[in-house]
Subunit: 462 residues, 2 copies
Amino acid sequence: MSDIDLILDHIEANLPASIDKFVQFLAFPSVSSQPEGREGIAACAEWLRSELAGLGLETQLITTDGHPLVMGKSWQRDGYLRVLLYGHYDVQPVEPLDAWRTPPFEPACRDEDGLTRIYARGASDSKSQVWSVLEALRAWKETQGGFPVNVTVLLEGEEETGSPSLPAFIDTHGDELACDVAFISDSDMWSPTRPAITTRLKGLLHEKITIVAPNGDLHSGHYGNVAANPVRILAKILASIHDDEGRVTIDGFYDGVRPVPARLREQWRSLDLKEALAGVSVCGAVQEGGHGAIELMWSRPGIDFNGVVGGNTGPGERSVLPSSATARLSFRLVDEQKPERIRSLFRRFVETRLPDGCHVEFDGAGGSSAVSVNEASRFIAATARALDAEWPEPTLIKGTGGAVPLVGFLTDRLGIDCIVTGFILADDAIHAPNERYDVERLRKGIRSWARILSELESDRRQ
Amino acid sequence: MSDIDLILDHIEANLPASIDKFVQFLAFPSVSSQPEGREGIAACAEWLRSELAGLGLETQLITTDGHPLVMGKSWQRDGYLRVLLYGHYDVQPVEPLDAWRTPPFEPACRDEDGLTRIYARGASDSKSQVWSVLEALRAWKETQGGFPVNVTVLLEGEEETGSPSLPAFIDTHGDELACDVAFISDSDMWSPTRPAITTRLKGLLHEKITIVAPNGDLHSGHYGNVAANPVRILAKILASIHDDEGRVTIDGFYDGVRPVPARLREQWRSLDLKEALAGVSVCGAVQEGGHGAIELMWSRPGIDFNGVVGGNTGPGERSVLPSSATARLSFRLVDEQKPERIRSLFRRFVETRLPDGCHVEFDGAGGSSAVSVNEASRFIAATARALDAEWPEPTLIKGTGGAVPLVGFLTDRLGIDCIVTGFILADDAIHAPNERYDVERLRKGIRSWARILSELESDRRQ
């Protein structure tokens, strides 16, 4: 057996170098959902490939219709476990840019609240999660000469856009991904002291709707009471999606949604909501039906409005009837809700609410179903042991409203157990301006992954 | 008596020069509602002052807290009518800029549909209206050696922002504006062949509301079903402002609104709606109560949504719960509706619909009451005779949903008859991208104003 203490000591000694390289990683503007991100994505992928090569992995840069996948393999130990380690290097857009205290791709360290925080887009979601895995591999390599399992590292550049290229890649390269267990390093903790493994992940689809009136912009003084106003039509449609209790009114939306098992529900109800929502005020919350907040976050489906724009958004008054108005919505799905069916129910719902003469343009993206991971897997137990050894409180088995498309593909297409874990916290401001991560969590995250690899060492292919 | 034919011939001969100078006038980016317009406004005001001086008027550039007023006087004929001629040289913002076929302040001529059209912001509203008056004065000056009445020209740079500096100016300079009749050159025709005088003008106020949640932007996957979403709250509030019949639901909103006199209502009902809405499709119109479209446009109050913005407005998907959402509304008021009362009713309406913990920021602008001009004025009759002589169809007495704040000030504060006329058409795209005006209307507009001055020549102070 390898000496985990030696490995952990090496991590501590190497921490300044780990941080330096992490900062380099953060500086790539790898925004996957905007055309101007293409160059930053490509440079980041090449940098990662070279990092994987430096760990002694056999690397490939796999081009797709979208952004490249970076793969690295060390596959030398017959009879040993085959472990897939997945992360993503693409990040969310940074708008609104003027809300950032420091530029999103110029990582800035600030000492605050007893922590050293690094501010950058991707600092938490998900470059810290990727980097923790890579630095744990480095510690194993540099102290033990290699890894305790056969390793495939897969780093994706399209997670934030719903992983459009992954299904085709899995269909054509399924053999290369064959493994006994997959680890998805892209999830959150319950609290700063309590780690978690996420076993229930919601499905996700995006819809963009644009209501278009038959005219160009009109003078609202002249035609205000008469001509169709797309902002008014859009507001009526958006307002009709939820009833006063927050329940979605789209006919058939809840088909296929199952009640949460009583055991799980009781366990979740015993959790302290304040911890689940650390740093987040939920005043003004709309709580659907009789479901508690944790149930709503982890296991109830929902529709969110992510953005809206139409007409005059400039600084001054303009008496204009806008010719169009746009909203962006995201749908979080659970259990047996089918994304394409939900999409078509929603589109019909909008179309039947349009006044004569106006039309609507739809632009959909994503479309993944919810996934549940087998909670009896021995790999969940092994991971929990590793995390319990590193953190002050015991590992929680939880759900999430966030989506990781790969988990669905691996579970449904390849039948592989996916262990979803990570060290993101509620107040990391992921997907928002001033995203951040602290150095202490980076350190304990690297140590956690080193411990997980150690727990797997004694396991063998069965 | 002067020879009107001689004057009209001079207008024809001088037309190419008139158009050249009109194009110079259009090139000033005189946007009043945005800070970056200040320079264009100042240059435009100085240019106009010099033009008025060239017409032999005694000129003043009057500074205000906002943008300057340009005044010119020729006040030499005792016993002759004192006539105030008002126009505005400021223009609406140009956004969205990418919707313009040619830049808004680089006037472009295009031959289309048998017309030569000039495209520029302000081409119709209202630089063409100002320029028609000035060129009519020039024709009088150059053929007759002077004007047939005592003239005060007042050109404003803040009409598009609700004329905030005018009340103080009228209070302090009321004497200089003393006149027997005021002409407001800033209104529209009924159709390309039928001129109009507008006797009913709606009041106007603007409100900007921003719904703010207690948190910054949040990940919509994690908090989507739980945390307050300002876009959702805003949509609910906007949607609740009108009922399914288009009636405003704000308690007390219709207080002070009088029925249209039966005679006027009948006359308006006999008009062909297609002409009123030339070039504008009203499919999808919401018609409040049993009121016809013309009544809605000219004499019913209303609330319009001019713009909305919140959350992700960028090109890609972002799973964000926005921290705030903003809407801009304008209110068109009639009869005895009081702007400050309506503003406070509206703000209370919004506040009572806010969930706990969220707050709203209000930013109001404008605030003018509706105005009715005495339809029995002899100056209306004189103006109608002049217009009837120039255009193929008889002059229509009409209302408008547009506001001209000065009319209220002159009518209410100084008791002066205001004759509101002009040659704007429905498809001029005023307040919208690709605003335009045709050379033929510029020609007939100049001729119309020359004829109006001629009709006033025989009138004397009474």
